[in-house]
């Protein structure tokens, strides 16, 4: 005893091979449902080439562990966004970032937000004067050393200043509310950041590693180096950035992990 292997015509009971629209024996039509049988995914998360965002650390209202499947071509995240909303995070602009597909690539684009989009640094990343980065709960900006203006006044009086020490660049901590916090001028070519024994220390910040990251002048250019920290170092993107599986993105207080199905 065997089961018929294909569709069986309801008029004449003949076997109809798959893909045929009419029965070869009696000419009766094959129903539309039977013609378009395709295997479906249990869930859309399995669709290849599509990405999802997992909220690792979230907005109070939305919670952690949520995931957003990026099924459309563009996905807006923001305080008043429909697709990826974070309604209680006042650090997010109403329309903050856009996760979009460009061909087969997933890209994140800063939609001109006030506070920007940060991506986790893998090892070492180039950084420039004016760039911002995050370590633990701390936000920093890379600043240039101001020009020295130590000539005498018109009346030949000299300005008394504290002893000057040459410095290649400086790191400025940015406090919530927008004012500057700690300013640290590079002693040699490096500023190291961490919880202890660094140039800038935050003993209270439990999300920092003891030695977390450093900014270093190498030749003419600056580098941001994550020193194998537990929670990572994040740099603010300029414009847009391609994302790949395992990337982490900070939007305001929300940390998102990018998963791309192979």
């Amino acid at each position: 005893m065997e089961q018929a292997r294909n569709y069986v015509c309801t008029e004449c009971a003949s076997a109809v091979p798959s893909g045929h629209k009419f029965c070869g024996a009696c000419g009766a039509g094959v129903p539309h449902e039977a013609q378009t049988l395709e295997t479906r995914f249990f869930g859309a998360l399995q669709m290849p080439g599509k990405a999802r965002l997992i909220v690792v650390r979230g907005d109070e209202a939305m919670g952690e562990g949520l995931s957003y499947l990026l099924q459309a071509t563009e996905h807006i995240a923001g305080r008043e966004a429909d697709q990826i909303p974070f309604p209680s995070d006042t650090w997010l602009s109403p329309r903050h970032a856009n996760f979009l597909y460009r061909g087969a690539k997933l890209v994140v684009r800063d939609e001109g937000s006030l506070n920007g989009v940060y991506i986790r640094v893998r090892g070492t990343a180039p950084i420039q004067i004016g760039d911002q980065f995050m370590c633990g709960q701390q936000l920093f900006r890379v600043d240039a050393t101001p020009k020295d203006s130590s000539g005498p006044e018109a009346d030949q009086t000299y300005f008394y200043s504290s002893p000057k020490r040459p410095s290649a660049f400086r790191i400025t901590q940015v406090l919530e509310g927008g004012m500057d916090g700690i300013v640290c001028c590079a002693h040699e070519q490096t500023v190291q950041i961490g919880r202890e024994e660094c140039d800038i220390n935050f003993p209270d910040d439990v999300y920092l590693s003891p030695r977390h990251a450093r900014v270093e002048m190498s030749g003419e250019s600056l580098e941001l180096i994550d020193e194998g920290s537990q929670n990572g170092t994040y740099v603010r993107i300029r414009g847009e950035r391609e994302l790949s599986h395992g990337d982490y993105v900070f939007l305001g207080q929300n940390l998102l992990r990018v998963e791309v199905t192979a």
Partner: protein
């Protein structure tokens, strides 16, 4: 260069104590660098000499005291650094006779203008009944022209007294253009400061000079800091800035940043006319400043004491208190200030003591 016999650290010739271990350095070399007022301006070194004067003096004083300030344990220093005036701060205030600010009853000096309240209280009590008769001859005396009422005594790098400059009862303008001991100081403006007497107290007015007039504050007496106040610790020039924040964006987005722990403001190192170097926000419990101890340290400045001063908050205002430093903490006079007898005044690269 003097090499310390105890720890082998190199010290500059004029140091009295080793920067590495605090051991006393051989005295011979201490006088190797006599002051020369016509040295080309070099910023740090030139002005270092000025402060050195009081260090030398303090060093002499310390020589008779077995206890050096860096030998004290942090607990000791911290416990005695809280001034008695603030320990039992009362809500009772009385108006300052000079500026009218409400001053807590147990303050000796007005925290706004520095007026000596104790002196006023004593004077008021004495002048209570026979006010007319006593004040008449006093006024006549004050009006006598060309009377030398006070003098500025130059304090030399080795701590000894140098030339003196007489101050009459009327206004006396000093600056590079007034010649004498002021002529060769490139850090003095041509017209730098004006001294005069007011109610029997010496007053100094900054004539919008480039580098200002600094007054040494008394140890353990808190002096209020205002937005933009400048003070000097060793060779370091520091500015206090009150808390300032930009407006949030029009769409209601707040500026993101590191946690704001209720900072009282910031202190910044001044390294140019408009430029600052390192800068630190001041948490609500305040900060200590020193060479070796404290939240902000200057390990490379030998004129800063191990623990030098602190910036702290009381009754919603921010204060600076010297915690017994050797060289003192100097506050830049904003516009004008009383100069109590015996006060050290720093102008240009020279240190003076006001005597009257």
């Amino acid at each position: 260069m003097i090499v310390c016999s105890r720890c082998s650290k190199d010290n500059q010739d004029h140091y009295k104590f080793c920067l590495g271990c605090g051991a006393e350095l051989p005295r011979l070399s201490a006088n190797a660098h006599p002051i020369s007022t016509d040295t080309p301006p070099g910023g740090s070194s030139a002005t270092g000499r000025a402060t050195n004067a009081s260090q030398a003096q303090a060093a002499q004083a310390e020589a008779s005291e077995p206890e050096l300030d860096w030998d004290r344990s942090p607990e000791e220093a911290r416990s005695d650094s809280l001034p008695a005036e603030l320990a039992s701060l009362s809500d009772q205030t009385s108006p300052c006779p000079h500026c009218g600010a409400g001053v807590p009853e147990n303050f000796r000096y007005c925290h706004v203008c520095g007026h000596d309240l104790h002196e006023h209280a004593v004077g008021a009590a004495a002048a209570d009944a026979p006010a007319e008769r006593v004040s008449a001859p006093a006024v006549a005396e004050a009006l006598q022209p060309a009377t030398v009422r006070a003098r500025l005594v130059l304090i030399q790098p080795d701590g000894s007294e140098g030339e003196t400059f007489p101050l009459s009862a009327g206004p006396t303008l000093i600056g590079r253009s007034s010649g004498g001991i002021f002529a060769n100081d490139a850090y003095l403006s041509p017209e730098h400061a004006e001294f005069r007497f007011e109610d029997g107290q010496l007053v100094v007015k900054d004539m919008e000079s480039l580098n200002g007039v600094y007054i040494r504050i008394e140890p353990d007496v808190p002096i209020e800091l205002f937005d933009g106040s400048v003070f000097r610790v060793g060779q370091e020039l520091l500015r206090f800035d009150g808390p300032r924040a930009p407006e949030p964006a029009p769409d209601g987005t707040q500026h993101m940043g590191s946690p704001h722990r209720g900072y009282l403001g910031r202190i910044s190192l001044l390294v140019g006319r408009q430029t600052t170097g390192n800068s630190y926000p001041i948490p609500p419990h305040g900060i200590h400043i020193g060479r070796e101890r404290g939240d902000v340290v200057f390990p490379e400045d030998g004129y800063v004491s191990g623990l030098h001063c602190r910036v702290h908050s009381e009754v919603g205002h921010v204060f600076l208190t010297d915690v017994g430093s050797s060289n003192g903490t100097f506050v830049r006079v904003s516009l004008e200030s009383y100069v109590p007898a015996g006060t050290y005044v720093l102008m240009g690269q020279q240190l003076f003591r006001a005597e009257y």
